[in-house]
């Protein structure tokens, strides 16, 4: 075999989560190899714009903030779909993660003492930032939060964070094999031993054997084709190869976030920080429709809620017509040139480069666009997979699960670093306890299987185009698994995606050039993407309620009696579709209730919290959850939110 490498820990993906995890492993003295489709600094973390949530409470509008309030916001944002213990671990560690980034060199925007002018709910307000806070990390407002909490570096927060973290990876001398993809996991049914790789410089297959393997491949927005803010590399390869084991479930794949302000029609992201800093959303009549619909939060309700209101405006004929279909306007004119070219600089550059628009003079066309995958490889609180030891996931690729059915803006960037730190340390600890090595026959078998798979593509008689199948998948996903869903459309989506899987079996390549042939690379990734698309559609069809970003017109109520649970989808080897199971979301500390925005009908849970919590551990273990370093519930501070709730309403 051409290329076999052994290491302690293999990290697949060199974005923020993967690199931060690798740093922790390397710091413990273990060898670590990172794979990346692209040079690490080109990972999609670099495109995160507006901020990273951490309750430092440094500016006046952040006074009274604490991890407790952050926890409350996160659970409410998730529409109670989150694992509250994970939300707690996250909120407690986010301030450390942000300060650590400052230590690594991120040039966070800082508090300027004296009179500062902000736009808040349509009014310009002068606020005196006190001298004693001068020079601390500044916050901006984001959706669904009680306090200003998002720490930021202009509108290039992800870029600055990724460059700082990758600098540390270089300092630590960690090997990054860029232009290399993982196309299958090597496992024995119980334990993961690494991955089969394909080099994107030469096209050659190889294998990396590892005692622990980490999926850090980010989201899978590209199952929505061009209707996503995601980079072209966000094809969900990590989730797909985990699913292909037949053992590991994906969690809540039907929970798909649509960002209110994707640029129309290119889908390029413009940050929530635009609205956080005072930007408005306007309909075709030039009205701020959210003022009446969400009196409390206006433009800054959670993303699922704002996206629904926007799509309703469009459906009721108040969208702005364009040759590419109707859109709404983002109005940033009142923020002024000085603000837009500094604190929102990347937004100004995008408007200039892709629309030819100066946002202080003109309106920006936007429309809800697929943005984030709350679902992903289901893991326990140590980040270890359900159903397979030695396999971990961090960041967007994981369903850890602090986001439930809706992620708050700025929480994902913070999650990457918190999860990377926590899971990396757990892996380092686990390596102390395990001494495993893979049977070399297992490796040969895995590589031979993938060689056959690639050859079968090259040997096919003339058939349809893989790109046509991708486009058909994208139309199904956007039109029937979008902001609003109905049973009829989901039935037809499932049927049509199954037909597409058949069509893919008859598709063929146009080129068989040797080397890193991009067409065959895409073909095998498309196989995985269609699997993820079908899992998403099946999960959405089965879930007969509306929760967070999963909004069923035929089941408009959130049903805590039947659906306060997490979908788990496994795909048994050689089966023609996924098998769905469910588990409790985790221990409940904050009881299910109103979110405080996006008012919707609810069916209350009849069971008591105590009864719900009593079955969590056994029910999750039955689904394959492995024991974590600390017992379930050990990180929960019961009732701590009670004191915070008063503060968060201030």
């Amino acid at each position: 075999m051409s290329d076999l490498q052994r290491t302690d820990v293999l990290v697949i993906g060199a974005g923020l989560a993967g690199e931060r995890c690798a740093m922790e492993v390397a710091a413990s003295g273990r060898e670590c190899v990172i794979l990346s489709l692209v040079p690490p600094r080109r990972s999609h973390s670099c495109a995160a714009q507006g901020g990273m949530q951490a309750a430092l409470g440094n500016c006046v509008k952040a006074e009274g903030d604490s991890p407790d309030v952050h926890f409350l916001d996160t659970v409410r944002g998730s529409d109670w779909g989150a694992d509250q213990e994970v939300a707690r671990i996250f909120a407690d560690n986010a301030p450390i993660a942000v300060r650590e980034l400052a230590h690594f060199g991120v040039p966070w925007t800082r508090v300027r003492a004296g009179t500062n002018h902000y736009f808040i709910k349509g009014e310009q307000v002068a606020i005196e930032e006190p001298k004693e806070k001068a020079g601390l990390i500044m916050h901006r407002d984001f959706g669904g939060t009680a306090k200003w909490r998002a720490c930021y570096a202009a509108a290039g927060t992800g870029h600055a964070a990724l460059y700082a973290i990758d600098s540390e990876v270089i300092r630590l001398g960690i090997t990054v094999r860029d232009r290399m993809e993982a196309i299958a996991l090597i496992h024995d049914g119980e334990r993961c031993h690494g991955a089969v790789t394909r080099c994107l410089r030469t096209g050659r297959l190889g294998a990396i054997l590892a005692r622990a393997t980490v999926i850090a491949t980010g989201g899978h927005g590209r199952i929505y084709g061009k209707y996503t803010t995601n980079a072209t590399i966000n094809e969900g390869a990590g989730a797909a190869i985990a699913l292909a084991t037949g053992r590991v479930p994906l969690g809540n794949m039907e929970a798909v976030q649509f960002h209110p302000t994707g640029l129309w029609p290119s889908g390029i992201l413009v940050t929530e920080g635009c609205r956080g800093d005072g930007g408005y959303l306007l309909n075709s009549a030039g009205e701020r429709f959210l003022v009446a619909l969400e009196p409390e939060k206006q433009e800054l309700a959670s993303r699922d809620v704002v996206s629904r209101h926007m799509m309703n405006e469009i459906r009721e004929g108040r969208g702005v017509d364009s040759p590419n279909g109707p859109h709404l306007w983002l109005d940033l004119r009142h923020l002024g040139e000085a603000h837009l070219t500094t604190r929102l600089r990347e937004v100004y550059e995008i408007c200039r480069d892709f629309l030819g628009v100066e946002p202080w003079n003109e309106l920006v066309p936007v429309r809800p666009t697929q943005h984030y995958s709350m679902g992903g490889m289901r893991v326990n609180k140590d980040g270890e997979a359900y159903g397979m030891s030695g396999l971990y996931a961090v960041g967007e690729a994981a369903c850890w699960d602090m986001h439930g059915f809706n992620r708050l803006g700025g929480n994902s960037l913070a999650e990457t670093l918190v999860a990377g730190r926590v899971v990396g340390r757990r892996i380092a600890d686990a390596l102390e306890r395990t001494a495993t090595s893979a049977d070399i026959a297992l490796v040969d078998q895995a590589v031979e299987g993938q060689t056959r798979r690639l050859r079968s593509w090259a040997d096919r008689p003339e058939g349809g185009s893989v790109y046509e199948i991708r486009d058909a998948m994208a139309e199904i996903m956007m039109n029937r698994l979008g902001v609003f869903r109905t049973g009829d459309e989901l039935d037809s989506a499932v049927a049509d995606l199954r037909v597409l899987r058949e069509r893919l079996r008859d598709a063929s390549l146009r080129s068989t050039s040797p080397g890193p042939n991009p067409e065959i690379g895409f073909a095998i990734r498309l196989e995985g993407m269609l699997d993820l698309a079908l899992v998403t559609a099946e999960g959405a069809r089965a879930r007969t309620e509306s929760r967070g970003a999963h909004s069923r017109l035929d089941y408009p109520a959130r049903d805590d009696e039947r659906w306060l649970n997490r979908t788990l989808a496994r795909w048994p080897v050689d089966a023609d579709g996924p098998v769905l199971d469910y588990e409790p979301v985790g221990l409940l500390d904050l009881p299910p209730g109103e979110r405080g925005y996006g008012h919707a009908k609810r069916v209350e849970m009849e069971m008591s919290l105590e009864d719900y919590n009593a079955v969590v551990e056994a029910a999750q273990r039955e689904q394959g959850r492995l024991a974590s370093a600390e017992a379930i519930g050990s990180q929960l501070r019961e009732g701590a939110w009670r004191a915070a709730e008063d503060g968060s309403k201030a």
Partner: protein, 262 residues
């Protein structure tokens, strides 16, 4: 056809663009080093222009409809990841934000020079930038270990903004490709490298003093290697003020020489 007449054709055609879409002619550098039968050549493709067509859209259409093994790199397609640097009619730039409507009808595409070719329009910028980062040790040389319990160190917002200004480099490699010195001297840290040095030099969190920097910058491989062609600043897609960066580094280097520094 000379470059000027191509532009004249373009402007004439722009007048009738609303009525009749242009039929673009792409001349693209092709070479697959993994294929023993492949030879470097220019290959021609035609494509009908659509409104707001970028080179991201055009190249993907060419690959999906005409030339399935065409190699190029895109990731974010929003000019923040730096993947898609290439020579567009001889000028290094990001393909994803280049509108075909800003180009003449005939579009020449070449890979960025000064980097190892992967194939066609794809080059290995990743290895170059990692090597540069290792050479100039482009990380914060900490003065004390991180204390997770402590409040963050304070920083003036003006300084944070100044650091952010040079931290905005996206490592696309356009400045390296445009640099006459980098083209002939592999040891030259090149504009992106000097910008990186300046970024850490102005950061008070970095514990390095003038003496630590002296060897890195005060040589022909450093700031005194630059012969002032300044193409780097002209082509930088992020409009980094590279001229100011060199002035800053020269001042620092001379200060280190005469004053001894810390």
């Amino acid at each position: 056809m000379s470059e000027t007449s191509a532009e004249q054709v373009a402007s004439t055609e722009a007048l009738v663009a609303e009525r009749k879409p242009r039929r673009l002619k792409f001349r693209i550098f092709r070479y697959n080093p993994q294929d023993p039968n492949s030879e470097p050549r220019m290959q021609e493709y035609r494509l009908e222009e659509t409104p707001f067509m970028t080179l991201f859209i055009a190249l993907n259409r060419l690959r999906e409809e005409q030339e399935a093994d065409l190699q190029f790199d895109f990731a974010c397609r929003s000019a923040v990841c730096g993947s898609c640097g290439m020579l567009v009619n001889g000028r290094p730039t990001l393909a994803c934000k280049t509108l075909t409507s800003d180009l003449p009808r005939v579009i020449h595409l070449h890979p960025l020079p000064s980097f190892q070719l992967v194939g066609d329009l794809s080059v290995d910028t990743g290895s170059w930038f990692r090597g540069m980062s290792e050479r100039v040790q482009a990380w914060v040389h900490e003065r004390a270990p991180f204390d997770p319990e402590a409040q963050e160190e304070r920083m003036d917002d003006e300084l944070a903004q100044a650091i952010y200004e040079s931290d905005r480099c996206i490592e696309c490699g356009c400045c390296v490709a445009a640099c006459g010195v980098a083209a002939t001297n592999d040891e030259f840290v090149a504009p992106a490298g000097m910008n990186r040095i300046a970024r850490f030099m102005m950061d008070p969190r970095d514990g390095r003093g003038r003496r630590d920097w002296f060897d890195v910058i005060s040589s022909d491989e450093g700031v005194f290697g630059c012969i002032g062609l300044m193409a780097c600043q002209d082509v930088c897609p992020k409009e980094l003020p590279l001229l100011e960066v060199y002035a800053y580094l020269r001042r620092k280097a001379l200060g280190g020489w005469f004053l001894g520094g810390k």
